[in-house]
Symmetry: D2
Subunit: 324 residues, 4 copies
């Protein structure tokens, strides 16, 4: 059933119509991030229920289209695909513990996507996102730059916003990156933080504040935020949905905006094949380019530790997990 | 806990952080319908989980604020309050069957709101919305024009959008109202439908279509849509959330836009004290004005039937339901 | 010289880089009405000076492109062309007196446009706009629905805005048309004015106002406004530029929005071949459809008078004016 | 005459209704940079002609207000005032040559503004803008941070846009400043240019480009652009108007965005009392803060040269110029 008449333009598919997938599709519509949303679920009734509910917003807002789908063939011609399937984090469990359950699912989804939309940019939301992104990269036939995980976009935005607020500067003019493993071991790269074109260290702080204090307070604000929401709600959906919508817009409009997404680390980082969260220029090509940060010794050690944990998790997987 | 620094400006409270309440708060943020959202729930952890999750979108989008609340006192200074509490529709049950459960809840909420924000515009979302709006009007000390139900806004928007699409005319330039009981007995007032300033009957239809066919097809498209979503998803949330955000914006910006909301019918309709869905000018005063439609004989009979059903439902309530 | 890199998407050409043409190009950029603007002038330096000045706004605003042009070939692939060339109104002279000067210019421009962009929608701004639109229609090889004059869009918007303000209703929900000759003999069609789907006559007016008073006051507000601006500034530019940008957006996005543009009157009006301002549905096809108003006897007489004046002006032209 | 009904909110006054002043007022309206614009001119008819023409856009666009004024008293309650009066640049003349003509005018305007709106942020557009800003600062009783010149905002935006385009990075994520005298001796501070949080020098350039080539090409693109427009059009208006609208928005919404405006240089620059273009955080307080750039030796010499030229120009003025 077509809710609205056909429309030309950008198409984004969302795989999985659970809490997160529905929230992503809803955010794509309310933020008008593309022209058409395809909400796919193996259970067509679930896709229909959510797509029709979300679609009711369209006559009240801008012209768009949202369609349910129960067949991967309906995802052909998508510019981007957001993968939200898989078990979700449960409180008290690390993101890595989800891995066994979700690795096979992702490999299977990628096989289908390679068949129906081999040129689309794929954005993974399922957790543990870094390892699943690595699986998606290695199991897919598409170019590596077409696959990314939604990474630490939210943490980075929170940090940037908090720092901008503290300094009285528009957050667009503040740059600081949160890198590493998406989750508890991610960290802010304070050594390269800038305000406009000047180092944060050169920017006059508010009276009676010191840089270490500012860094500690803001780092704490981002740490454990996801876990606090989990503890209360059982999962997160609306925040990550907005982050995905923001990434999707950068892809669809070829914005070239910098986001911290899960990618295979550039050679310069010297962490082998690890896939983790790093600042990248995101556009129509997916990861158009990766920024290579100069890290302090401490930061380098933390990045290596994240890489090593993630690499071990990946290597712990049975070799045939893709056959599921 | 304050998620963002304080900000001046419009404040909207949402009472109830369930599926619908959270979706409303999320839509208010993504559509930037006001400056501050207060998400209230009797269970503070539920309010926190949803408010923090939704609040994660803000650093990625426009400057706004959302706060959880567990105390009605935090709703003071709200320009509008959206009530989403109460049991939700279950498939196979009419909206009227929810009445017994929800009437007492609404009366109790209104008592609290009368205490903390007696000037706020109150928008009811809980079902059966028409009867609950009547209870809210009669139990509240605030002026009648400050209380409305979210009504047939969605049905009306769907109809307007479908008609505009069929005629090749921007939906803003198409006017047709869906009135009566919110639910299965609502109906389109075709006799007064207009395209710009001319009657729909004077507008040349697409080749090989007749007006009765157009009316039948579009009426069917809106009828039962809510029920189909219910059957698949168990409730509706995203669509109604967008409708509420649209109404809220009209209130907060004093737009004077026409929406079909649940109100006490104007005297000219001759249906006594009934509260049902009718087109109204919505602005800072809530229901700034009610449009008085000239109805055909059939339409008048249908309106009277709706009014009589709703009146009977209201009168079936025990007199002391407000003491709950 | 290309100011910005090439960009796909909608292109609008403006013919003439005088006060009006430059203001139109500037409004197209500031309102982001299309993706690319071509500003043409027979004097290339004039086109460059204005296009480069306007183009300086783009790095501060949304992604767009503006290019100067001195050759009609650069107008190929335009979706719409706005014609602003010709002598402008001088105070104390009627718009019809400009006719002799501008008729030949328009015919010559149309010949060029028919050669380089025969499918583009042409919007005339030059005055007297109704007669020049008729010349453009008759001299062009393109379909009649692809040619329109900018008409009484501004007068209509002023009237609608004033009426909405008086009634406390969003102007989008108020419909009243200003028709006839663009200029002193245009008039409001009060008999069909509506608020939402109801006749204005059925809408309760503010206390101690009568409908005739409202109509008189609002009619006066639009009458002579252009002349007052002329008397002070020598010409009008910014207002008409915004009106053109609004029409262009409706064309480029295929909005199907109703505007009062100069068109050949529908047969139902019984005014022969006259071209004058009437409400039309505007979209990608140019004039997608014309609304046929039911007029009161007075209104019909006024329309016939306008048509007859305009027809006489047209017929007064020498037959070979197109050879200029 | 009030064009629209009164509206609460931000008010911006524009002093001077010539080409530049009218273009500024028009940009404020089309970009909806504030709630109310007051267009002042000593010749009330000129203010009326332009304000009424510009105001005609409002019914077609968002709700706003624009009023002409012929009396400084009408500027009371303005949040910001844009000064555009004074003789304009003529081709072949340096901006400094305008000084003698305009210094007295600015001093007189500041006296009036100190009387009617002593708290407003004042933005100078008249040229030579750096020296006139210094006069405005010294002759005004208001705090220094409340006065700024429109500076090298346009040059900086052009450079940032060009660099972003070349690198395939959103211009918001590219930071490079154009400082010094507004005009021919301004220069880009390449030593501190950044892409996101990393130095431009660390960012991989497109194949077969070198950093010096990129810098030369982009520097040339901004150099002399104003002069080329002047040579063709006789003045610039639309570009500077967009720049002013952007600054005004940052003030009115307290954005804390970084712009290169004319200010008294921070002590750290060691250039005495000179007023020249430097990157500043702009918000409700006007110049909320000044960024202190680490300059290369060459850049420092160029800045000192600009400062010395501007200081000499200022000191060449007769002491009593303010009595005009």
């Amino acid at each position: 059933m077509v809710i609205l008449g056909a429309m030309a333009g950008s198409q984004v598919a969302v795989v999985g119509a659970g809490h997160v997938g529905a929230a992503v599709a809803n955010a794509l519509v309310l933020l008008r991030a593309c022209d058409r949303v395809i909400l796919f679920d193996r259970n067509p009734a679930r896709a229909e229920g959510e797509a029709w509910d979300i679609g009711d917003a369209i006559p009240l807002l801008a012209e768009m289209e949202i369609r349910p789908a129960g067949d991967y063939a309906d995802l052909a011609a998508s510019d981007a695909v957001v993968i939200t399937v898989g078990a979700i984090n449960a409180p008290g469990h690390s993101r890595l513990e989800l891995l066994g359950q979700n690795a096979g699912i992702i490999a299977a989804v990628m096989r289908e996507l390679d068949r129906v939309c081999p040129e689309a940019v794929v954005i993974l939301v399922s957790n543990p996102v870094d390892v699943l992104t690595r699986i998606a990269i290695e199991r897919s036939t598409r170019a590596t730059h077409l696959v990314m995980g939604c990474g630490t976009v939210l943490d980075g935005a929170r940090l940037r916003h908090g720092l901008g607020e503290l300094l009285g500067v528009e957050q667009e003019d503040v740059h600081v990156y949160v890198v590493g493993e998406h989750g508890d071991s991610s960290f802010a790269v304070w050594s390269s933080a800038t305000v406009g074109a000047i180092p944060l260290a050169d920017f006059q702080l508010p009276p009676s504040t010191t840089l270490p204090e500012v860094q500690d307070e803001l780092s704490m604000r981002i740490r454990g935020r996801g876990r606090e929401i989990h503890a209360r709600k059982g999962y997160t959906s609306y925040g990550v949905a907005a982050a995905v919508a923001r990434i999707v817009r950068a892809v669809v409009r070829d914005e070239g905006r910098i986001f911290m997404v899960s990618v295979r680390a550039a050679e310069e980082y010297g962490v082998g094949d690890a896939v983790l969260c790093l600042p990248c220029v995101v556009g129509r090509a997916g990861v158009a380019r990766q920024l290579v940060l100069r890290l302090s010794d401490d930061e380098r050690r933390m990045l290596e530790r994240s890489a090593s944990v993630l690499d071990a998790a990946y290597r712990s997987l049975p070799v045939d997990d893709g056959s599921a």
